[in-house]
Symmetry: C2
Subunit: 223 residues, 2 copies
């Protein structure tokens, strides 16, 4: 019985990591579809969406089956609940990747706007946050998870910078308004991907040390 449970849990974790690798790849391909105006990459992201959605439902089903068959100890329960939440975050990363791929397709239909400012840097940062959040899950590494949290402000700052640059650009030349606007949407989607990575890192910390770090402002309010 115990054995059976361990095996189910291991399988659940493997499926989640597979989902993680799909979401991570989708985000990577979507960003590069924009930066390199690569129609094939954009299409690859759209083609993979269903696989991610199916996996989300499969993982949720496995979670419910596991909870239905076993009376879990607190630590295992935290682990399973964290997996359910991370599953959700990964599916949303996939959604954001789809949004970015669609922006890439629309951008390709317009004359190319000039340099992409800080967008490549923001893309790298967001991708690295996703990768590190998944690595922190694999290794149950709280230090790495906290490093992900610490980078969230950096991403917000980059997004604001990109917004400002693109808005000035739009003010200077009204013919670029539509293309620049698409890049604003891309920056917004990247910021949301970074947010989801942050949520995953918070879930890893919750899973490993059992404390909820989701709303740091609350800690300051209730010292």
């Amino acid at each position: 019985m115990e054995r059976h449970f361990e095996r189910d849990l291991e399988e659940l974790k493997e499926r989640l990591l597979w989902m993680g690798s799909l979401a991570e790849r989708a985000a990577h391909q979507a960003v590069h579809a924009v930066l390199e105006a690569d129609e094939k990459l954009a299409q690859a992201v759209l083609d993979e969406e269903n696989a991610i959605n199916e996996l989300q439902i499969e993982i949720d089903d496995r979670v419910v089956q596991l909870l239905a068959l076993q009376q879990l100890m607190a630590a295992d329960l935290r682990f399973v609940m964290a997996i359910a939440r991370i599953n959700n975050e990964l599916e949303r990363i996939g959604d954001q990747a789809v949004n970015i791929a669609q922006s890439a397709q629309r951008i390709m239909r317009h004359p190319r706007v000039k340099p992409y400012i800080d967008l490549p840097r923001m893309g790298d940062l967001a991708e690295k946050m996703v990768r590190d959040s998944l690595d922190s899950l694999v290794r149950r590494d709280v230090v790495l998870a906290r490093a992900v949290l610490s980078r969230d402000d950096q991403v917000d700052h980059l997004r604001d910078q990109i917004f400002r640059d693109l808005l000035s650009y739009m003010m200077g030349d009204s013919s670029v308004v539509f293309s620049a606007f698409e890049l604003i949407l891309v920056a917004q989607n990247l910021e949301r991907i970074a947010d989801h990575a942050t949520n995953i890192a918070e879930d890893v910390i919750y899973m490993v040390v059992g404390s909820d770090v989701r709303h740091p402002a609350l800690e300051r309010h209730n010292p």
Copy 2:
């Protein structure tokens, strides 16, 4: 024992509905802070954020306690898992309300742009979706939940319309770029609130009839 469980479940549901009413009010106040340039309303939303965040953690703790103490039947398990997910959606509605309230504050610092186009209509629609999704939860009303799902496209359509109108407006007068851009962010946040309401409605359907309606495209792919 059975009794105890029923009571815990009832309490859990009450706390979730309380959370729902806070999130719904935050969304309502945030939209009206923008439309009426009402600084007090914007501040009220920011002041309530902590209460929503605390409640999210409290509800998650209750879910874990309930699962740890009881070996649940499949239907109860579905109910509890749906509550955990809805809790998450409500917290995100609160986050979006905060974003809108912050936009309201920035908009008030600039000269007012002229009519708000379809924004009031989009606000009403998103609010109604949140309210109906919560009502469908209270009444376990699958028909109402499905009505919420059917309105999601309408919201997307309105958002696209608002984007187009504001972008043309920006192209015609570069002095309104910043204010118009804030309204674009508001429309974006409203669309996300509607998305969360849609997710809640999907969870209600899952809770009541046990079928997963999250990715309708999959059904078409696997007939």
